[in-house]
C-alpha cells in the first residue's frame, strides 16, 4: 500500500532529535565554527545519553522500531526500521548543526564499521569506545581500492605503515579503523581494516586541517610508522578472498550514503526555513495554487527549492526503506546522495544570495550553512562517484568498462 508519510511510531524519536538540534546544537553552532579545533564539551553529555540507550537496548530508539514484519491484524507487512529512523533523525540533527552532529562522541564512522563486520569478541572489546575511520590517502581518494598503506603480519602483531588524510574525529576518537593492504599485488581483494587504539606507538596525528565548513568536527591526517597492533585487531577474516574485505566494506557505504543525503537535506532545510521566514516577515510568501510564473522571482525560487528538497528527501527515504526491507539499494542510495548533495549545496548557496548581505554576513548562520553543506557533496563518495555507481547499475557495466 503506497504511503510516503512519516510512520507515526517514529515521530517520538524524530521530535526528540529536533529538540536536541534546536536547544543543544543551534545555540553553540556559531561558537564552534569560530573556534575551530576546540572540543565541544557540551556534547559529552549527549554522547553519554546515546551510549546509555545503546547499552540498554539495541541501539538508538530501538524500542520505537518495528521489528516484527506483521501489523496488528497479523498480516505480513513492510518494515520501517533503523535505516529509516537514522535518516529521519539526521534530517533534524543536521538542521541543528552538521559539524557538531559529526563529532558526537561514540558515533563515528568507525563505530558503524565495527558494528557491521567485527566478531563478537571484538565488539565486546571495543564497546563504548569512539571509533574514527581512516581510508583516504594523499594518493588515493575516490579510488579507495588504490590505497598504499601496508599491513604486514609479524608473529602475533600487524605492522602498519602509511599516511591517512581526511580522518573525521581522528584525534578525538579512542580508536581508528584503518584501511590497509595486506598484499598490494592482489588489488582490492587484499584490502583489510584494522583497529588502531589511540596512543599506540608509531601512530600519530600529523596535523589537524583548517576547513571551509563543518569546523566543529575535526579532520586530521595520520601517520603510521611501524605501528604494531595485536593480530586480532583485524576486522573480519584475514583470508584474501573475493567478496570479503573491501567489497564488504564498500557495502557498508550503501547504508551510509542515505545518511549523508539526510545531512544535506537537514542543512539545506535550515537555510530554506530561515530564508522563508525572513521573506514571510516582508510579506513575500509562495502561493501553491496558481502557476509558478504568476509569482515574484523570489517566491518562484523558493517554490523550486522546496520542490528540489522534497525530491531529495523522498529519494533518501526510499533508499532507507529499501535497506530496512532487505532490498539491494546501491543504486537508490547513490541517487539519494548525488541528488541531495547537489541540490542541497545549490539551495544553501542560493539562500545566501536571496538574503543578500544578511545572508553573507556572520550575524546569521546562512553563510555558515552554505560552507558546511558542500562537504555532503563530497564525502562518502563525491557526486561524480555516485553518478558512476548509478550509471554502472543502470547500464549493467563493470568498473572496467565504465570508469
Amino acid at each position: 500500500m503506497i504511503n510516503l508519510e512519516i510512520p507515526p511510531r517514529l515521530k517520538g524519536m524524530i521530535h526528540l532529535a529536533s529538540e536536541v538540534a534546536e536547544s543543544m546544537l543551534r545555540p553553540i553552532s556559531r561558537k564552534y565554527d569560530t573556534h575551530e579545533h576546540t572540543y565541544p564539551v557540551e556534547l559529552d553529555v549527549f554522547g553519554k545519553i546515546l551510549q546509555g540507550m545503546e547499552d540498554g537496548g539495541q541501539g538508538v530508539g530501538a524500542s520505537h522500531i518495528s521489528k516484527k514484519e506483521e501489523n496488528d491484524a497479523g498480516e505480513k507487512c513492510v518494515k520501517n526500521g533503523k535505516n529509516m529512523l537514522a535518516v529521519l533523525t539526521l534530517f533534524e540533527m543536521a538542521w541543528g548543526d552538521l559539524g557538531l552532529t559529526l563529532t558526537i562522541p561514540g558515533q563515528g564512522l568507525g563505530n558503524s564499521a565495527i558494528a557491521a563486520v567485527a566478531s563478537a569478541e571484538q565488539k565486546a572489546r571495543f564497546s563504548g569506545k569512539w571509533a574514527a575511520m581512516a581510508i583516504t590517502e594523499p594518493g588515493a581518494g575516490s579510488d579507495s581500492s588504490n590505497i598504499s598503506t601496508t599491513a604486514v603480519l609479524d608473529g602475533e602483531t600487524w605492522v602498519l605503515n602509511g599516511e591517512k588524510i581526511f580522518v573525521t574525529c581522528g584525534e578525538r576518537a579512542d580508536l581508528t579503523v584503518v584501511w590497509a593492504t595486506t598484499d598490494k599485488s592482489k588489488g582490492k581483494v587484499g584490502i583489510k581494516s584494522f583497529v588502531v587504539e589511540k596512543g599506540t606507538p608509531g601512530f600519530s596525528v600529523e596535523r589537524v586541517e583548517d576547513k571551509m565548513g563543518i569546523r566543529a568536527s575535526d579532520t586530521v591526517s595520520l601517520i603510521l610508522r611501524d605501528c604494531r597492533i595485536p593480530k586480532n585487531n583485524l576486522l573480519g577474516k584475514p583470508e584474501v578472498k573475493e567478496d570479503q574485505g573491501f567489497a564488504g566494506a564498500m557495502q557498508t557505504f550503501d547504508n551510509t550514503r542515505p545518511v549523508v543525503a539526510a545531512m544535506a537535506i537537514g542543512v539545506a532545510k535550515a537555510s530554506l526555513d530561515l530564508t522563508k521566514d525572513f521573506f514571510a516577515r516582508e510579506g513575500i510568501e509562495p502561493d501553491y495554487r496558481g502557476s509558478v510564473w504568476d509569482q515574484g522571482a523570489i517566491e518562484a525560487e523558493i517554490i523550486r527549492m522546496e520542490a528540489e528538497l522534497e525530491a531529495s528527501r523522498l529519494l533518501t527515504l526510499k533508499a532507507a526503506w529499501m535497506a530496512d526491507n532487505g532490498q539491494p539499494n546501491s543504486k537508490e542510495a547513490s541517487m539519494a546522495k548525488a541528488k541531495a548533495g547537489r541540490v542541497g549545496t545549490k539551495i544553501s548557496l542560493r539562500c545566501v544570495e536571496l538574503c543578500g548581505a544578511i545572508g553573507y554576513g556572520e550575524t546569521e548562520l546562512l553563510e555558515k550553512w552554505a560552507r558546511d553543506i558542500k562537504i555532503t557533496d563530497i564525502f562518502e563518495g563525491t557526486q561524480q562517484i555516485q553518478q558512476l555507481i548509478i550509471a554502472r547499475r543502470l547500464l549493467r557495466k563493470s568498473s572496467k568498462e565504465l570508469h
Binding site: I2, E5, Y288, R289, G290, Q387, L394
Partner: protein
C-alpha cells in the same frame, strides 16, 4: 454478489484477454482485422442529436465513492496485489498497442478509432465508477488513476492523454457530481459501447491561471448560458460530453456538463508542438444554454475547484513520469548498442552521467507524484505536494526530453526514433493544466 477488489481486476483482465483485439498484438491478420472492423462499426457511437445519457439506476448517497477510511501506518512503496495486476496488464497494452501507434497518431493528429476501441476493452473507467452503477470501484482512488496514467504514458504520452480524458470526466463526476448526475452519466461508461468524454479547462490566453477563467457562465431562467473559448481539450472532436470549466458570475469557477450537440457549441481540431495523438481541440461556446442540472455538484455536493486542479496536476505529472521512464529505458538500450571510438558510448562518463541523472530525476518525479496522490487518496491535504510535484516534474521532464534527443545525436532528431516525439511531448508538461483529473 459483492465482489472483492481482486475480483474486479480479474473481471477486467478476463474481458481483456478474451478480447479479439489481443491477437492483433502479435501478427496482424487481415481477415481478423476485417471482422474486427465490422464489430467495431457496429458498436461505434455516432454523433447523436439527442442525449444518450439516461439514468438507469438510482445512486444512493451512501453508495457514492469516498476516500479510503484507514490510512496506512507505515512508509511503503510496494503496490497492492490489484495494482500489480493492473500494471502488468497495462505494461503489455502500452508496449504492444500504444508504442507502435504513437508515430502514426502524431502524424494523423488524432488517436485512431481502432486504438480507442481497444482501450475501451480495458475497461479502465470501471475502476472509477461505483459498484452501485455497475462499476468496479469501492473507493475514490486518485492513486489508481496515476498508476494507469504512468503506464499508458510509457507507451505514448499523447495517446495516454486521449485515453485518460474519459476517465478524467468519470473521476470528476464521481468526486463532485450529484447522485443524480452520476446516475445519469456514469452508466454510459460501463457498457460495451462506452461513451467518449473529456474536460475543457484551459483557455488560449497569456498568463492563464486555473482560477481565473475568461469563459463565463451566466444564470438564466432555467439554467446557465456559457460563453468563451476553451483550448487543448483532449479527444475534443470525438467527445460526446464535456466538463466545461467556467467562471460562474457571482460564485467563482464551476464545472458544467455540456453535450456536444448543444446549440452554439463548436469544436475545432487543434494542432500543437507534440500532442497530435491526444486529438486536441479548441471549443467555442457561443451563448450555449445548459439546463440547471448541468452544474457540477448541484445540491448535496460542495464543488472544490482547488481539488479538481490539484488532482489534474497529479494525472498530468504521471504522464510525464511514464514518458520519462520510457525515455530512460530507451537511451540505456541505444547507448549500450551505439559504438563510437571503438566502444559503446555508455563507456564515456559524459553519456553515462547524463543517463544517471535522467534516471535519478525520473525516480524523484515519481516519488513526488506518489506522495501527493497517496495523500489525496487518504483524504489528507495535498495542495502543496501536488503543486511542488508539478513544478518539479514540468522542469525535469523538459530536461529529460531534451537529453533523450541529445544522447542519440542526429539520430535523436529524426523521426526514426521516438526521442524527438518525447522531446515535443514533454515540453507540454509545464503548459498543461486541468486537462485531466486523477
Amino acid at each position: 454478489m459483492k465482489r472483492t477488489p481482486i475480483g474486479h481486476v480479474l473481471q477486467i483482465l478476463n474481458r481483456f484477454s478474451t478480447s479479439p483485439v489481443i491477437d492483433k498484438w502479435g501478427i496482424r491478420h487481415r481477415a481478423e482485422e476485417l471482422i474486427y472492423q465490422g464489430v467495431k462499426t457496429g458498436v461505434q457511437v455516432g454523433v447523436v442529436a439527442q442525449s444518450k445519457f439516461k439514468p438507469i439506476k438510482e445512486l444512493l448517497p451512501e453508495d457514492r465513492l469516498r476516500v479510503a477510511s484507514k490510512p496506512p501506518k507505515r512508509f511503503d512503496l510496494s503496490l497492492t496485489e490489484e495494482q500489480r495486476m493492473l500494471r502488468e496488464m497495462l505494461v503489455r497494452f502500452s508496449a504492444n498497442v500504444l508504442r507502435p501507434e504513437a508515430r502514426k497518431a502524431d502524424k494523423a493528429w488524432d488517436i485512431s478509432d481502432e486504438v480507442l476501441a481497444q482501450s475501451q476493452e480495458l475497461g479502465l473507467n470501471l475502476l472509477a465508477i461505483p459498484e452501485a452503477l455497475d462499476g468496479a470501484a469501492t473507493a475514490r482512488s486518485p492513486l489508481t488513476s496515476c498508476l494507469i496514467a504512468e503506464e499508458l504514458a510509457k507507451g505514448d504520452f499523447s495517446l495516454a492523454m486521449a485515453l485518460l480524458a474519459p476517465l478524467s470526466f468519470v473521476n470528476a463526476l464521481s468526486e463532485f457530481g450529484s447522485s443524480a448526475q452520476q446516475a445519469r452519466f456514469l452508466p454510459a461508461f460501463v457498457g460495451e459501447a462506452m461513451a467518449v468524454a473529456t474536460m475543457a479547462f484551459m483557455e488560449p490566453t497569456l498568463r492563464f491561471a486555473p482560477t481565473r477563467f475568461k469563459t463565463t457562465a451566466t444564470k438564466v431562467a432555467d439554467g446557465y448560458r456559457l460563453c468563451g473559448v476553451k483550448t487543448m481539450v483532449p479527444l475534443g472532436k470525438r467527445a460526446e460530453v464535456f466538463l466545461v470549466l467556467a467562471h460562474l458570475k457571482g460564485v467563482g469557477p464551476r464545472g458544467f456538463i455540456v453535450e456536444s450537440h448543444a446549440k452554439g457549441f463548436k469544436v475545432e481540431h487543434q494542432r500543437s508542438m507534440g500532442l497530435g495523438g491526444a486529438g486536441l481541440a479548441e471549443i467555442h461556446l457561443d451563448r450555449v444554454l445548459v439546463p440547471r442540472n448541468a452544474l457540477l455538484g448541484e445540491k448535496e455536493i460542495q464543488y472544490n475547484h482547488a481539488r479538481l486542479v490539484d488532482l489534474g496536476r497529479l494525472a498530468l505529472c504521471s504522464l510525464m513520469v511514464g514518458a520519462c521512464e520510457a525515455a530512460v529505458d530507451y537511451v540505456i538500450d541505444y547507448g549500450n548498442q551505439r559504438i563510437a571510438f571503438g566502444e559503446p558510448i555508455t563507456h564515456r562518463q559524459g553519456v553515462a552521467f547524463t543517463i544517471a541523472d535522467m534516471a535519478t530525476e525520473t525516480e524523484a518525479m515519481r516519488l513526488m507524484v506518489l506522495r501527493a496522490a497517496s495523500r489525496a487518496e487518504q483524504g489528507l491535504a495535498f495542495q502543496k505536494e501536488a503543486f511542488l510535484a508539478h513544478t518539479f516534474c514540468a522542469e525535469h521532464a523538459m530536461i529529460i526530453g531534451s537529453n533523450s534527443v541529445q544522447l542519440l545525436g542526429g539520430h535523436g532528431f529524426v523521426c526514426e526514433h521516438p526521442t524527438e516525439l518525447w522531446y515535443r511531448q514533454l515540453r507540454a508538461g509545464a503548459v498543461l493544466v486541468g486537462n485531466l483529473m486523477a
